[in-house]
């Protein structure tokens, strides 16, 4: 469908909604293309090319939202969705005790296109498969594996937003990703590895030094090999050097979600009503950002059409604010932060993170290891879970002992757990280099919207009293 037709449909939805007596309408159109290749044991276990296209309508009635979506890109289909959204908003208003209306802002008319050298749409399926084959060859050069895994993922497309203020926004999401993994089950020994990440760029990302498929495959093989002779991590509360990816996940899952204002306005977050309080040590500054100088996810606008900025959540341990959509920002008398995101047209935007990371410290890596002296260097994780009270548990899938101020033996898979609100008080420093990771695989899950691309990272952070679960 031509752009003008889409814009026309979205404007018709806004007009229809306003005629139904609601106060505000946001009409979104997504046309996303997703390609995934799962190359397991050197056959294509699964490959898919998905076209995900449709319109979502958010209606606000006296601060009560109602959302409806449709795959039918016709005037009739869009009007029907608008009627349903308006009905939901009006019907549920009587029970809604937390009205999240918002102030009017000037309309935005912007078209953002990203220029990349090698857009994935210009390359064949076979080119992408070839990168996985190169990575798998590199795994096999490291050791004899029972199973090899190569994953490729890409997402690109178009997003439109029109609202009652007259905003017309167009931008193009983009993400590419390669992961490699190995499994060994042999003679009583078992080990597995999985590594790699993605970027909001074109396929040129896989020509960079650290992310060419051969390096990712070599790393997967090396990590798998290390696990065969890994030692048990020491159990108990241990001083730990946490890598950017590990620390990034901890800060995202454990602290970031507690700072999402939809969770704060209901009083459910344990950090609600605590702005100005000291929640961490002086070494902890936590940022959430849409477009970061450290890389990660590229997110210029959120799904309410708000330009994403740099939000300081925690500054030198002091809680400074929360992540907002338009409604929670007004309710809490806060600046707009551009954190209202939906994974696709089938979902309403909710408060989500963008790139969430620890800000840099002033140590070199060597100084950080020396500071730990005896403990654990936690590098990669595979899975984790958090509770509403700040409790977390992550599986450290790659880590090393730190002995006498040096990184030494690889450790077996082990669990890292604790409570983020206690742990932040025991942060003793960070290194100077910040890295933000993002990707097509994994992503963030909330309210049924799973796999939303986010960025997370930081420097290597020194944390004391991390509970190590012992040998797994």
């Amino acid at each position: 469908m031509e752009n003008e037709n889409i814009l026309d449909l979205l404007h018709k939805a806004v007009e229809k909604g306003e005629n139904l007596g609601v106060n505000f309408i946001e009409a979104r159109y997504d046309d996303l293309n997703l390609t995934t290749i799962n190359y397991t044991n050197e056959i294509i276990k699964q490959s898919s090319s998905l076209s995900r296209k449709g319109i979502g309508i958010m209606a606000y009635y006296q601060g009560t939202p109602g959302y409806s979506y449709t795959p039918e890109l016709t005037l009739e289909g869009v009007k029907e969705a608008t009627i349903r959204a308006a009905k939901l908003a009006k019907s549920t208003d009587s029970r809604n005790k937390i009205k999240l209306d918002f102030d009017s802002i000037p309309a935005i008319k912007e078209k953002i296109e990203v220029k990349v050298k090698k857009h994935p749409k210009d390359f064949e399926f076979a080119d992408k498969l070839d990168m996985l084959k190169r990575g798998v060859t590199a795994i096999k050069e490291q050791l004899e594996v029972t199973t090899t895994i190569g994953l490729y993922g890409e997402i690109y497309g178009e997003k439109y937003l029109v609202n009652s203020e007259g905003t017309e926004l167009y931008w193009v999401p983009l993400m590419v990703d390669i992961r490699m993994g190995g499994v060994v089950i042999s003679e009583g020994k078992q080990s597995q590895s999985f590594t790699g990440w993605g970027a909001s760029t074109g396929l040129e990302f896989f020509e960079e030094k650290e992310t060419i498929p051969e390096i990712t495959g070599t790393n997967a093989g090396t990590y798998c090999k290390e696990q065969l002779d890994a030692v048990a991590a020491p159990s108990g509360k241990t001083k730990t050097l946490v890598s950017p990816q590990m620390g990034g996940v901890v800060v995202h899952e454990s602290f970031g979600h507690l700072s999402e204002a939809d969770f704060v306005v209901t009083g459910q977050s344990p950090i609600a009503d605590r702005v100005g309080e000291e929640l961490g040590s002086e070494h902890v500054t936590i940022i959430d950002e849409g477009v970061s100088p450290y890389g990660g996810l590229y997110l210029p606008y959120d799904d309410q059409g708000i330009k994403t900025g740099r939000t300081v959540l925690l500054e030198k341990g002091i809680l400074k604010g929360y992540l907002h959509n338009r409604g929670t920002a007004k309710k809490m008398n806060s600046e707009l932060t551009g954190n209202s995101r939906a994974i696709n047209f089938m979902f309403n935007p909710i408060v989500r993170m963008k790139n969430t990371y620890f800000e840099k410290g002033d140590l070199t890596f060597e100084e950080a290891v020396e500071h730990v002296n005896t403990g654990v260097y936690a590098v990669d994780m595979s899975g984790g879970q958090v509770g509403l009270d700040g409790n977390f548990m992550f599986n450290c899938s790659r880590g090393y002992l730190i002995e006498n101020g040096e990184v030494t033996k690889p450790i077996k898979n082990t669990a890292l757990s604790g409570n983020i609100l206690e742990l932040l008080k025991y942060v003793e420093g960070g290194t100077k280099e910040v890295t933000i990771k993002t990707g097509y695989f994994g992503g963030c899950g909330k309210n049924g919207q799973n796999g939303l691309p986010v960025g997370f990272g930081g420097p290597d952070m020194i944390m004391d009293k991390v509970l190590i679960g012992g040998a797994q």
Binding site: Y67, I98, T266
Partner: protein, 458 residues
């Protein structure tokens, strides 16, 4: 639209899609047509969010011999379907051969359909508000220990159809209803959570959901530190028992991981993998379960399969491709979407459980507690279950929802503890399998179970 009309519509679209494939000279094709209307309402301490919509699309597999391509599209628009077929065909042409692939499901063969409730089609936003009102009427908010109570109501209806160039044309319909309540309470520095729910294929009574959840949360207040590290018996309430076993069984019962040699039970067929009291069944014909359907996600009839009988591993679960790769027949376990959900038509079939059921044996939860001299009662789903090592079976998880048992009595709630052990060892170290299996909300239902020993620490 009635359920019969929905069935006619999706069968027609599936059939038409195969005709388009033939028109395009595509040698072999499979169409998975999905159409589901869904409505959802949440009330988080008075903050209401609601959403509805039609999730509709087609997943298309195209094969040229053993070269397979997959593409999907939203909606049922004719030209979009045709272009998606061409796209899947183009992917198949450049894909390497998959030696395991031997064609799509041939012929039409259906099993029994589960319960369908046409009343669900009549529900609207007003009825969801009324349901929330009923749940909230059970709560006395004057109790200052209550931080928040949230409620949720969800219903859906629709179905899916599968058609292949090999002559399969079959469908299965879906009606679902779910309601839940979740409580957060606090006292001094203690913060506890608990919830309850109903779910099924019919409209259910929500009576008692919110009061049960709140009562459970309040009973957990006043927790004390465990203090130290000790190997102790653990007793798991039925729903927590199911959650605990879920993550070990998912990989171990999978025929795909068996074929791919990443299944730790790969060499354990006809061997003892658990205590002899343990029997595990996969029930694809459970009439009240969401998985009780006429066909699986590639058109094979669903069935009931005994995986572990008296502790002996008897089979793995298979779809058509992985079954044939293992010289076995499909067990009707093709699923689309994976454990974390996802949009079914956007996924190719893979092996997944229908409804795993642990056979009930002996004593109920209270009887099991009464037999413990010193141990731990687990009353909430621990965090970290996802982090268990599926290859080695090692796990270390934490929970804020546990009680100390002494001399057969529940003594007091505990602050956060960690529980460590090994799944494969603990399956052979079960003390008691209970008689009180419940609907867990997980793909497995289990009764209360007591294990002889896990390492407890704080």
């Amino acid at each position: 639209m009635t359920l019969d009309e929905i069935r006619d519509k999706i069968l027609h679209i599936a059939d038409q899609t195969i005709k388009y494939a033939r028109d395009l000279n595509i040698p072999a094709a499979e169409a998975y047509v999905y159409n589901l209307s869904n409505t959802n309402l949440t009330d988080n301490k008075g903050k209401i969010d609601s959403r509805d919509g039609l999730t509709q699309g087609i997943g298309l597999r195209v094969a040229i011999g053993k070269q397979v391509g997959f593409a999907s599209c939203t909606g049922f628009e004719k030209e979009t379907i045709k272009s998606t077929l061409k796209h899947a065909h183009s992917i198949a042409k450049v894909s390497p051969e998959n030696p395991m692939f031997n064609g799509f499901v041939a012929g039409t063969n259906v099993a029994k359909e589960g319960i369908l409730d046409p009343e669900i089609l009549q529900l609207d936003p007003d009825s969801m508000i009324e349901t929330c009102n009923l749940m909230s009427q059970e709560i006395d908010l004057s109790d200052r220990r209550i931080v928040s109570i949230s409620y949720g109501v969800n219903f859906s209806f629709g179905g899916y159809a599968v058609a292949t160039t090999e002559g399969c044309l079959a469908s299965s319909l879906i009606t679902t209803y779910a309601a839940n309540s979740f409580s957060v309470v606090t006292e001094a520095d203690d913060r506890k959570t608990a919830g309850d729910f109903v779910q099924g294929r019919e409209i259910k009574s929500v009576e008692g959901i919110s009061s049960n959840g709140l009562k459970k949360a309040l009973n957990s207040l006043g927790s004390k530190a465990f203090g130290g590290s000790e190997d102790l018996p653990t007793v798991w309430e039925p729903r927590e028992s199911a959650a605990f076993l879920e993550f070990s069984f998912i990989n171990c019962v999978s025929g795909s991981s068996y074929v791919e040699k990443s299944n730790p039970w790969g060499d354990k067929l006809d061997q003892q993998v658990a205590v002899k009291e343990l029997t595990l069944i996969d029930d694809g014909q459970h009439p009240e379960s969401d998985s009780g359907r006429a066909i699986d996600a590639e058109g094979s009839p669903k069935q009931t399969t005994t995986i572990i009988n008296d502790g002996i591993l008897k089979t793995f679960l298979f779809d058509k491709m992985f079954g044939e790769a293992a010289d076995k027949a499909t067990t009707g376990n093709a699923s689309r979407g994976g454990f974390f959900g996802g949009i079914p038509y956007e996924n190719v079939p893979n092996v997944g459980p229908n409804k795993l059921l642990i056979r009930e044996v002996g004593k109920n939860l209270d009887q099991q507690i009464s037999e413990i001299d010193k141990g731990i009662l687990i009353t909430g789903t621990p965090i970290g279950l996802f982090t268990a090592n599926q290859i080695t079976g090692d796990f270390s998880i934490t929970t804020n929802d546990a009680f100390l048992i002494e001399k057969g009595e529940v003594v007091h709630p505990l602050k956060n503890i960690s529980i460590a052990g090994n799944y494969f060892e603990t399956l052979n170290d079960m003390r008691t399998i209970g008689s009180d299996r419940e609907d867990s909300g997980w793909p497995i239902d289990a009764p209360a179970i007591t294990y002889n020993k896990h390492t407890i620490s704080d």
